[in-house]
Amino acid sequence: MSVIYGIGFASPWLLVALLALPIIWFLLRAIPPAPKRQLFPAVTLLLGLGDKETQVDRTPWWLLLLRLLALAAVILGLAGPVLNPARAIDSPKPLLLVVDASWAGAAHWSETRTQLQSLLQDAARANRPVALLSLTDPTPLQFQPADVQARLLAGVVPQPWQPSTEMLSAATRHVTEAQQGFDTLWISDGLSFVDDREARRDFIAALRDRGAVEVLQNQHEVVGLLPAAFEDGAIVLQATRANPGPASAHQLQALGLDPGGQERILASVAFQFEAGATTAETRLSLPAELRARISRFALADVRSAGAIALSDDRLRRREVALISSQAGNEGLALLSPLHYLREALAPSADLLEGTLANLLPAKPDVIVLADVAHLPAAQEEALVNWIVDGGLLLRFAGPRLAASDTARDREEPLMPVRLRIGGRSIGGAMSWGDPKTLAPFAEGSPFYKLEIPDEVTVRSQVVAQPDPELANRVIAELADGTPLVTRKDLGQGQIVLFHVTANAEWSSLPLSGLFVDMLERLAVSSAAKAPEATELDGTIWQPVDVLDGFGRLRDAGTQPGVAGPALIEAAAGPDLWPGLYQSGKRSLARNVLPVGSTLQPAIWPQDIPVRAFEASPERPLGGLFLSMALILMALDVAASLLVSGLWSPAKAAKGTAAVVLAGLLLHPNPAPAQTAAELAGELRLAYVLTGDASVDATAEAGLRGLSDVLRYRTSVEPAAPFGVDLERDELALFPILYWPMTAQQPMPSAEAYGRLNTYLANGGMIFFDTRDSDLSVTGSTSPAARRLQQIALALDIPPLEIVPRDHVLTRAFYLLQDFPGRHLRGPVWVEAIATEAETVEGLPFRQLNDGVTPVVIGGNDWAAAWAVDASGAPMYPVGRGYGGERQRELARRFGVNLVMHVLTGNYKSDQVHVPALLDRLGQ
């Protein structure tokens, strides 16, 4: 490839054709533009008139230039120009492309990919076989033609971890196993990813054994986000970067679900790396409610798994239901068994109060029963089911529990232990001894290592019955070894019993800070500290959502679970994807960067050349030149026409305007669609667009005719009828939908059905007209009726009957017994009377559904009978002679009755009571 001023040519010899341009210049000059033919009878007067000027004899110079430019563009375009052609590596050896492919490069992965593509293109031009080696996912080297590799390039994606020692040694193995020698180009993210230098050195040495090594390094700053911590009421977020460069500012976002379930940015805070610093810290103080919603923190401008800090339980807000036996008692607040719980939990949990029966369906995370001895059997069963599904039941003892016979003889499902009768009191006026203090929490207890304040004393408690299971179930005890807190697992949930009251009556525990800490440890309220690896020993954590290299969360699918300690300590890798893990009720976030990690810049041996990414990747310009040539040729056409007088800009503008105008006129809907607000402004009848133009036109004309009749005869003054597209239009604006059936009617979509059913349920009426009662009885098999059956299958249509003689439809405005349309005797079906509804004596018609039937089905083709043209004359003949006119009149009366029925509901049936009402009023 020869390179001229940064532009290389694939086939430079084609440029020789440019030499032909001057010849073409002379050739083109000799050919004047073709004349325009003009009919002109007065040509007799022109005969013999010569031209005075002759310069247009030849093509104008600018037109020539235009043509030559077009030609030159074609030649240049075909010569295959390439902007910034990659510097050729002249070695004929195969090429190995090593890619870090870690999260650190994800933020600028598109650049890396462009770089890879241009390298592959270059290799393809040089016919060098290429192998790709991704260090985060090392595979044996396969040298293949570069264009084959280019197709595989999409599979190379950054992983949410960094190459580990094992991955590097695997890569080293693959390199040493390769059969031939090759040159290496290492595309690095700029991080030194392995702590022990050994593996890295070995890998580089293996590469150098095979051939030259060159490094292309991404020059962008690599920023990582450390897991969020919760300190002193604020979320502390730390970011780290590899190079202590100049000061740089970043934006940090807290993302989570809003109350509507949409993920959005809940908070945003700016922070800055000071010049020369590698870490930056910022604090985010949020209300607990908002904090609990946060699912992750992310750097706004960095698209990388390292720039994501997932949050877990520690920021979540739990729902706690408080239930006390004394609910509703007008006791003193400080004596209420729930007062201290409320105080302790309110800052960090959502509290629900009420009766168990009401609260259980709300599925709270925790239910607290304060001094509740007995539950109704049904509630007990429901509660057990809730616990089995993962609920936490927290019980407190109290006088009622102590006095009851609950869990005396046998272990109850809702009590962790059996209780001895009566309980005990210590240190009171009537007893020996001092109030007892708490013993330090044993290892294995959830309260392990909580500090016990000295002032916490216990004066009374219920006492557990000794039992083989008891020792396992005690998680806190008094200094004398009496169990104070016991726990039992039930299904996925657990039951915890505090053997003291939830108020300060029996002990001072609820008054101390320890009480709050214990509730946190029990996951009643959200905790603030990350668990230790040892704490998770023996647990298996199931991934729920995992991060990919770009920091996108995706469903973990069937990935295997991870042991608890590994989740905390092991490095992220294919066996441990960063993401959100769950074990029982607890969830834990595993981030790419663990707490306290730092980023190390890559250090390369002195003699390996390190280059930055090419600023501008190579770009083939052939297409650009060719399209330029096309544009120039189009201009040439216009210019040639202009020169020959066949076309003038003014005429063209006129023509264009005409075309545009014609386009506008031909457009089926030139007027902007009526907005819902306009439609809602006035009452109007509506018909369903069937897609059959003539049926739609008839329906429109029919409803127009009916609207006119209504306007002349009644106080209903409808606006122009509206054609409803079931898929798009809002139905709620129309009291009645006239739906003419055709056999070719398309089925409405699922959404349309949903809207139709809502419309029917909310008092709308659909008037189906199969328009075929001259051919068949409605409901029997005519094509339109069959279609109606198919369409109506998914509609909520009640049982139907033929209009009974006492139906309100027969007397809503006119007294009618027949409902003719264009056809005479088709039956009309309306909603059937409910079987239990009885005819009330003295009431001429029945009370149904506010008197309005949701559907009317018939086949008399009413729209055709109502239809009028623009001048108000009927469009279709009805019947014969005066009898026909009478029939049309009856059809109109039916229409009036129908609309009246829809608009007034059971008002008409109520009218029969008017004499009775007046009577009662004493008039």
């Binding site: 533009p33 009919l39 009878p41 007067l45 022109l46 008139l49 247009v56 004899d57």
Partner: protein
């Protein structure tokens, strides 16, 4: 055919339905607002056909002129008994000598007339026929005899003549520039020639000279398309006559404009000169103008007394 015989309704409808009927319909529409035109008799002597024109002398006519005593040789039937009964003398009732004027029509049916520069304009031929026929209708209403030059349609009275004229004008001629027809002109009649007069002048001169020799006076109406008057052309153009026989190619049409307009003016001067020599009148009509304007002018020109014209 008797002048009072109305055309039968059936034939009238048939005529209206044909191509000539359309033309006639439009012509009648154009003619209806105008008062009947009575062509001034140029010469009292001459043809002796009865008409509505009083010759201010006793003769054969419908209108009363005078009573005169019976002279020997008068037949007894001529005695007006109502007048004679008043006295002893017998009187003869004399009627005014009435005569009809004859108008010959010629419209150019050559190909050059079938031209309109735009879809919105009528062709010159259309306009020429319309004007001619409108004028003919006016003439017939005034009791004149109308006909075509040449022997094809001798002058006659009556509406049927209008139909015949309209019919003959629906036929086109393929001659590029048709020369005026001057044969079979009735001496001392009047003539109306409508054309664009873009053809050779020679034949026109001959025709006018011959008619002047026979004492025929008349009107030349030049009908032109607006583009022939304005010459709105530019660029390299090949101008062709309607039949394509004549062509002129120019590289710069705009440069020709002034010289073309000069030539057009020259042609008009020549026509004017010719008319003045032969006692004819020259009119100019553009197809973009309303036909009414042209008809008004023709009405005036043909109605003018011969004394004014010469």
């Amino acid at each position: 055919m008797s002048p009072d015989t109305p055309p039968r309704a059936a034939s009238r409808e048939a005529a209206l339905r044909g191509p000539g009927g359309q033309l006639r319909l439009r012509a009648e529409e154009a003619a209806s607002p105008l008062p009947p035109l009575l062509v001034q008799a140029e010469q009292l002597a001459g043809a002796v056909l009865l008409g509505d024109h009083g010759r201010r002398r006793s003769g054969m006519g419908d209108d009363f002129w005078q009573y005169r005593p019976v002279q020997p040789g008068d037949s007894r039937r001529m005695i007006d008994h109502r007048r004679s009964a008043r006295g002893d003398q017998q009187f003869v009732r004399e009627r005014e000598w009435q005569i009809a004027q004859t108008v010959h029509f010629w419209t150019d049916r050559g190909a050059s007339m079938r031209f309109a520069s735009s879809d919105h304009l009528p062709t010159k031929a259309d306009r020429a026929r319309l004007l001619a026929l409108a004028t003919a209708i006016l003439m017939v209403r005034g009791g004149e005899r109308v006909g075509l030059t040449g022997g094809l349609l001798p002058p006659r009275r009556g509406n049927i003549q209008i139909l015949r004229m309209a019919e003959s004008w629906t036929k086109d001629d393929d001659t590029p520039y048709a020369p005026p027809e001057h044969r079979a002109l009735i001496p001392h009649a009047r003539a109306l020639c409508i054309s664009d007069f873009l053809g050779p002048m020679q034949e026109l001169e001959t025709a006018l000279a011959k008619s002047a020799d026979r004492g025929v006076r008349g009107v030349l109406l030049q009908v032109l398309d607006p583009s022939e008057e304005a010459f709105p052309f530019a660029g390299r153009t090949r101008f062709e006559s309607v039949t394509g026989e004549l062509a002129h190619e120019t590289l710069k049409a705009r440069g020709l404009r002034d010289r073309y307009l000069d030539r057009l003016a020259e042609r008009r001067d020549a026509l004017d000169h010719l008319c003045r020599e032969t006692g004819w009148q020259l009119g100019l009509h553009h197809t973009e103008q309303s036909a009414q304007a042209g008809l008004l002018w023709l009405h005036g020109a043909l109605g003018r007394r011969a004394g004014h014209a010469t």
